[in-house]
Symmetry: C2
Subunit: 251 residues, 2 copies
């Protein structure tokens, strides 16, 4: 299905978010959930330094950091490596972030904002229920097919960090819990609209959809399978068919 997506530059995603949120006819809780995914407090619509020259420089550095971490893993994202990548002095990069861990945390945050802005928020413009679930799927597939770094990093960093305790892992875990919550609320909108059975399990759907997307990234990126997106669409079609049925056999 064609997806209603607002075309916005990577560099203005802070600015695009409040306008997107204002016009969303979403179920209660979704907007603040998306704000949390974006690193904003409930009711807050932009980070404090958005729009300043320093804020824009930092944003450009973070975009390069997301892309570098997507290629090398978060473990390869050091102050020195990113400084070399963007042509900045190591001391200049250090002045921006102060430590490798602070840099990694900022890059994880930027990846989550990019993913929320490019995948989750546009889906909220589709009608509530099954159309919104499918818009989320198509936006996520597009993010993967175009190898957008934010989505890539959110997917990859989980596998990389799951045995490396610390603040970066903790933050990534919290972001994934927020994302799962947002998916569950979007699916629950379909229950409220009568598209899915009243007893359809929105928490299970969130786990299932995330699994389908992990499988899609594997098929597309590791195996180079030209049918990767269609495999994912077939898997989600089966999940939604099971949610629509009244036999209760599957769950």
């Amino acid at each position: 299905m064609p997806v209603h997506r607002r075309q916005h530059e990577r560099s203005c995603y802070f600015a695009a978010v409040p306008a997107a949120l204002d016009t969303v006819p979403a179920e209660p809780g979704t907007i603040d959930g998306v704000r949390r995914l974006l690193g904003l407090a409930p009711g807050q619509d932009a980070t404090p330094d958005a729009g300043t020259k320093g804020g824009r420089t930092r944003e450009a550095i973070l975009a390069a950091g997301v892309a570098l971490a997507c290629r090398t893993g978060l473990g390869g994202l050091t102050i020195g490596a990113l400084a070399a990548d963007v042509g900045m002095s190591k001391s200049g990069m250090f002045a921006h972030f102060g430590s490798k861990e602070a840099l990694q945390l900022a890059v994880v945050e930027a990846a989550a904002r990019e993913f929320a802005t490019e995948v989750v928020v546009p889906a909220l413009h589709a009608p509530r229920g099954e159309p919104r679930v499918l818009a989320l799927l198509e936006g996520w597939l597009e993010c993967g097919l175009l190898r957008r770094p934010g989505g890539c990093l959110i997917v990859k960093a989980s596998a990389e960090l799951d045995e490396q305790p610390g603040p970066v892992r903790d933050r990534l875990r919290d972001l994934h819990l927020e994302l799962a919550g947002a998916i569950a609320r979007i699916f629950a909108g379909g229950v409220a609209e009568g598209h899915f059975r009243p007893d359809a399990d929105s928490g299970q759907f969130a786990v299932d959809l995330h699994a389908v997307m992990l499988g899609f990234y594997h098929q597309h990126r590791m195996l180079g399978d030209p049918r990767a997106a269609d495999r994912a669409r077939a898997a989600v079609a089966a999940l939604l068919a099971a949610a629509r049925t009244t036999s209760g056999e599957a769950r």
Copy 2:
């Protein structure tokens, strides 16, 4: 369901495989597919140096390498890091492998052998069809719940290497194609037994099951979800319910 698993030590998995393969009432093609997963040629039942002292030393080093790579990623698996980990001199380790890339290749191979021996081969002892699919699922879940390094590495290394061209990525891709083929053949046995619809798509099932397991590793390892295994079981139950139905709605 309880799974029939032969208890064997990690260190004797080379020896366990031929005996396991001899007694399997499997569909044609499965055994050689499993041999390829194990890095053996068709008809071959053990690696050339299995059982020698040098072979056993190398095997012990590789087991440590799989565990190290599971914690730090394949990128962190250097001659020096593994030498320090097993208390061997760097030059001694170099004599065994010759290069970081050769070490990484050998470790990927060892992880695949471990996964095939501990998850795939035991499942082949279950009756063909749905019981064998469920045995594969339970063995895979057990591998993840017990954090066995081989399964962990096969899952994680794909996300790590998908944008890093080279022989290690190529070998990992080939192993994943073999694994997908083995899953598809195990599912196809259920079509042959009449457990699943004749038009059930075994290639789609292989993609779907792998996705469920990627999701399980994420739920279990990153999120620490105590329901992770039950979420995966529910997802596979839904896949099998759709394969049994004759409505044809889902696929």
